[in-house]
């Protein structure tokens, strides 16, 4: 039995299905991210765990105890909102002390705990400031500190970084990882940003249309997306069509032996959908065993660490290639190049 157990959770708003029989098990101390586009049900699941959304069916168990009907104020879960939801009339220290005063801790214990939390989230110098006198990142620290102050069993975070700029987001991601390590609290994190999910999570649950379509470690999900949706949503993935012919594969007009992992019953007998990572496609002299094909460069754009090259294949498909600055030196729009991809880098999509 896992720490937090979500079983067959179902929730509809009118005719819209927000959660369609969701199952998820989370272990104590894990950092789990619920990742998906807006309206995919990830926030509804988080709010169900928090107690603010009442599921129509299914159960949520904590340590084996059914908490599905327990009020949010009795669950002892910390909750961090997208807009922070700090109490505007209270200063930083009083915001953090709020859950402790509600729990009627004695004064000395509150003071000590507030001090400890202020240090934990790095706000010890700003204790007497009001929320409106703080930057977005500082407000977010207060919100996290307030939600951690009373020692919750689980910290639920609803897109907490989406209002911050990129640099601050990177800093806060590292901070959240540190807080997770330091406190040992179970984190359940909602986001629509796959980079955020990759950077922090132990495991990611990918949501689509009210259901979880894949659960796994960031590396598993990146390397082996389970469906066309996951591959597409995680971004930057090339999803292209190919054909199965005479036990081999025809990819971009080039015939080659069928790569491993193909299963005719699951992936289709003739028309195939395959994916390949932009960084797994090479430009220039093909490596041994790679499937090579000619291509015409449609566009080159510089993204800092590499060049993003868009090429058109002989069968008229577009392909995104991430090339190192060295290999892309002689590449220009309109030029002819040879591209290649190793059979092991080709993944098959289930026939949907």
């Amino acid at each position: 039995m896992s720490f937090l157990d979500v079983r067959n959770l179902r929730k509809t708003y009118g005719s819209a299905v927000a959660l369609d029989g969701v199952d998820l098990s989370i272990e104590a101390g894990e950092f789990v991210t619920l990742l998906g586009p807006s309206g995919s049900g990830k926030t509804t699941l988080l709010m169900s765990v928090a107690g603010f959304a009442k599921p129509d069916e299914g159960a949520i168990r904590l340590d084996g105890v059914d908490i599905t009907r327990v009020d949010p104020e009795d669950r002892n879960f910390g909750l961090v909102f997208q807009g922070y939801a700090l109490f505007p009339h209270l200063n930083v220290a009083d915001n953090i002390a709020f859950p402790l005063r509600v729990r009627k801790w004695d004064k000395a214990r509150i003071a000590a705990r507030v001090e400890e939390v202020l240090n934990l989230v790095g706000l010890d110098k700003l204790a007497s400031r009001k929320p409106r006198e703080l930057s977005g990142g500082q407000q977010q620290r207060v919100a996290i500190g307030r939600a951690l102050a009373f020692g919750p069993k689980i910290l639920l975070l609803d897109e907490p970084l989406s209002a911050l700029d990129r640099t601050l987001r990177d800093i806060m991601q590292r901070e959240l990882k540190r807080l997770h390590r330091q406190t040992g609290v179970t984190f359940v994190y909602v986001t629509h940003d796959q980079e955020e999910a990759y950077a922090m999570s132990d495991r990611i649950a990918v949501f689509h249309n009210g259901g979880i379509v894949q659960v796994g470690t960031p590396r598993d999900i990146y390397r082996a997306p389970a469906s066309r949706f996951v591959a597409g949503f995680l971004g930057g993935n090339n999803i292209v069509s190919a054909r199965a012919i005479d036990g081999g594969i025809e990819l971009f007009g080039t015939r080659a032996p069928m790569p491993e992992g193909y299963d005719a019953s699951r992936h289709g007998r003739s028309a195939l959908t395959v994916w390949m990572r932009p960084e797994d496609i090479a430009i220039g002299e093909p490596r041994p065993g790679a499937i090579a094909f000619p291509a015409v460069v449609a566009d080159v754009s510089f993204v800092g660490s590499s060049e993003r090259v868009t090429v058109s294949t002989p069968d008229g498909q577009e392909l995104l290639v991430l090339a190192s600055l060295a290999t892309a030196r002689d590449v220009a729009a309109g030029g002819k190049v040879t591209c290649s991809v190793l059979p092991s880098s080709i993944g098959f999509m289930a026939d949907e």
């Binding site: 910390g78 807009g83 939801a85 109490f87 505007p88 009339h89 859950p99 729990r103 307030r146 939600a147």
Partner: protein, 269 residues
């Protein structure tokens, strides 16, 4: 016209109009002051020197001014407290449960602003005569509460509209019960709007005359009613003395508001 006189006119004319407008607004108000000091027995300007007799008459219980002031004060305070309490409850409810019912109820509560008081008065006379509430404290107070509600609802609603409704969820997730959320989260943030609402409600009740005239006779004589009858029946200069006192109280209140209050507000950033 030479360019210089033209320029003079362009600059002077707006000023002249502004001052004329101000005079139009204030002179009729200020005229009560000399009238209150008249040495004659009817409404007039002082003739042979000034007299404070009419102010003394105000304090005379049997002249009826003091009882009216106390009646109005009692009804206005009661109406203000009730209207503000109900408005706060409604505004918080509508803030938390956004939807169709709160907005329908809001239109109903604001309707006294739209319905002409005279129509409302006619309806209330019929209803109150059936319920035996004509010319009673309760009857007048209920009517004043209903008339004061729109302004109180608007004032409290305005201060709530700046508040993030997710504060309630945040407080609940931190373990707070409804009474704690009300007392420690919502109320401290809507104090200015609530005070403004209470003052507006008080003022509405304090100078309400139309409906009050219809639903009272001899039992309940509010100050506006007393002023109304005294100007219709007699031409007692005590009326001017009374309005002078009210004017003085208002001006003192305004000055206090502008000096003391702002200084307190500055001290609390």
């Amino acid at each position: 016209m030479t360019p210089s006189t033209r320029r003079l006119l362009e600059r002077a004319l707006p000023k002249v109009f502004a001052w004329l407008l101000l005079a139009f607004l204030f002179v009729p108000v200020l005229v009560v002051i000399p009238v209150a000091l008249t040495d004659r027995d009817y409404l007039s300007l002082p003739n042979n020197g000034i007299s404070f007799d009419h102010f003394a008459a105000l304090a005379n219980w049997r002249a009826g001014w003091m009882p009216s002031i106390l009646t109005s004060l009692g009804i206005a305070v009661a109406s203000s407290v009730v209207a503000t309490a109900v408005s706060v409850a409604f505004a918080i409810g509508a803030w938390v449960y956004v939807g169709r019912w709160p907005s329908i109820l809001r239109v109903v509560l604001l309707s006294p602003l739209i319905v002409p008081p005279i129509i409302y008065a006619v309806g209330m006379v019929r209803l109150w005569s059936k319920l035996g509430l004509l010319d009673t404290w309760l009857g007048v107070t209920i009517v004043h509460v209903i008339l004061a509600m729109p302004l109180a609802v608007l004032a409290v609603g305005a201060s709530l509209s700046n508040l993030d409704p997710r504060l309630v969820q945040a407080a609940r997730s931190l373990g707070a019960r409804p009474e704690t959320i009300f007392g420690r989260v919502i109320l401290p943030n809507i104090v200015p709007g609530t005070v403004a609402g209470a003052i507006l409600a008080f003022i509405v009740s304090w100078d309400e005359i139309t409906v009050t005239l219809f639903i009272t006779s001899r039992g309940i004589v509010t100050l506006p009613r007393k002023i109304w009858t005294s100007i219709a029946d007699a031409v007692d200069p005590a009326l001017a003395a009374c309005t002078t006192v009210m004017l003085a109280v208002t001006i003192v209140g305004l000055i206090l508001r502008m000096t003391v209050w702002d200084r307190i507000a500055q001290r609390r950033p």
